[in-house]
Amino acid sequence: MGPLIPNGIIPPEWNFVIAILIGIVFGFTLEASGFSSSRKIVGTFYGYDFAVLKVFFTAALVAMIGVYYMDYLELVNIEELFVLPTYTWSAITGGVFMGLGFVLGGFCPGTTLCAAAIGKIDAMATMLGIFIGIFIFSELYDFIEPLFDSSYLGRITISDSLGISPYWFIFLFAILAVITFYVVDVIRKRVKKVFY
């Protein structure tokens, strides 16, 4: 049956409407989880708050299980879903830069907007920084391009590259996630409480 829009069940004109609705819900969830506080986000890095890790791990797990159940029940055709193409080295470089910015600013791109919306000055500064970064990237694009396009691996998933069945991967991932949650909780209890 699904995905709904490419299969013509929902006309493509609705794309943006649905995107806006999902965006609003996403923003609401970010704010409700307290992600518009930079202290909470960098807490993962310094080891006093692991909410970010827990939220995103849980989100990935629930989505993974949900999508594969829907695929099994023929509600969604998993082969028609978009998989982000992998460029190994540009992904690693980009990841390092993003991580740096993460710790420096205390926001990821999505939460910046969230925090700016509730009037945090540092978030607005980070937003400005994002635009400056985009500008620099575009100006240097000719120079960066070889790295940007190098080591293209195609649209692969982790279970493809490991060569195991996605179902087993999800199962292992679920166990790993639960263990991580437990370990992270233990760490949090040992670290001195930080109030923010």
């Binding site: 629930v62 159940y69 829907m70 029940l73 023929e74 509600l75």
Partner: protein, 202 residues
């Protein structure tokens, strides 16, 4: 204390997830008919053309191994058909009893031979069965005739060119093929007068 108020949300979401999965699993019906994923299955016989049986092949092989299926409709079938053939109209191919019959033939290692009033009529049925994973399906390349209350089959020139196209075009373009102009009687056209209709709208 505040954190404790979230307990309700957690149990709600847990219950909803369980319900969603349960409803999904219970309402799920396995599809009856499926197309096999392996597209090679169809392309290989098409490339090698070995799925086409000719009239002479019928007599060459032992006829016991062939199971003829007449895919024309019941009316045409009742007028005349091949000996030992069973009538399954293309539209009814996916019916349960017909599928069971085909499966039964497959377990007996019989070759299923489809035929229609011409090969083109049966090619759709052949494609459907092959792509659904039936292995021994062949197509009989014949034309069925019904002359003087007698049913007979004759060879069908499958995809045979009736002209040597290139040569014919050369000849035609150099004026080698004359076409005469015909004079027609003039026809006087009369148009009926239309009654005026009062138009209106709301």
């Amino acid at each position: 204390m505040k954190e404790l108020e979230k307990t309700k949300r957690i149990s709600f979401s847990a219950v909803i997830i369980i319900l969603a999965v349960l409803i999904g699993v219970l309402s799920f019906k396995k599809p009856n008919n499926i197309f096999k994923k392996n597209i090679e299955l169809t392309l290989k016989p098409i490339a090698s053309q070995n799925y086409i049986l000719y009239q002479k092949d019928i007599f060459a092989t032992t006829i016991n191994n062939l199971a003829f299926i007449d895919i024309r409709n019941a009316f045409k079938y009742s007028k005349g058909h091949l000996k030992n053939s069973k009538n399954i109209y293309t539209a009814n191919l996916l019916e349960k009893k017909n599928k069971e019959y085909l499966k039964h033939l497959e377990t007996q290692h019989k070759t299923i031979v489809l035929y229609g009033s011409e090969p083109g009529e049966a090619s759709g049925a052949w494609m459907l069965l092959t792509q659904m994973g039936y292995k021994n399906v062949k197509l009989l390349c014949v034309k069925t005739n019904y002359i003087n209350n007698k049913f007979s089959i004759s060879d069908y020139p499958l995809e045979k060119e009736q002209y040597n196209y290139a040569a014919y075009m050369k000849k035609a373009s150099s004026g080698g093929i004359k076409t005469k102009k015909i004079v027609r009687k003039k026809v006087i056209k009369l148009t009926k007068k239309k009654k005026k209709v009062a138009e209106g709208g709301c």
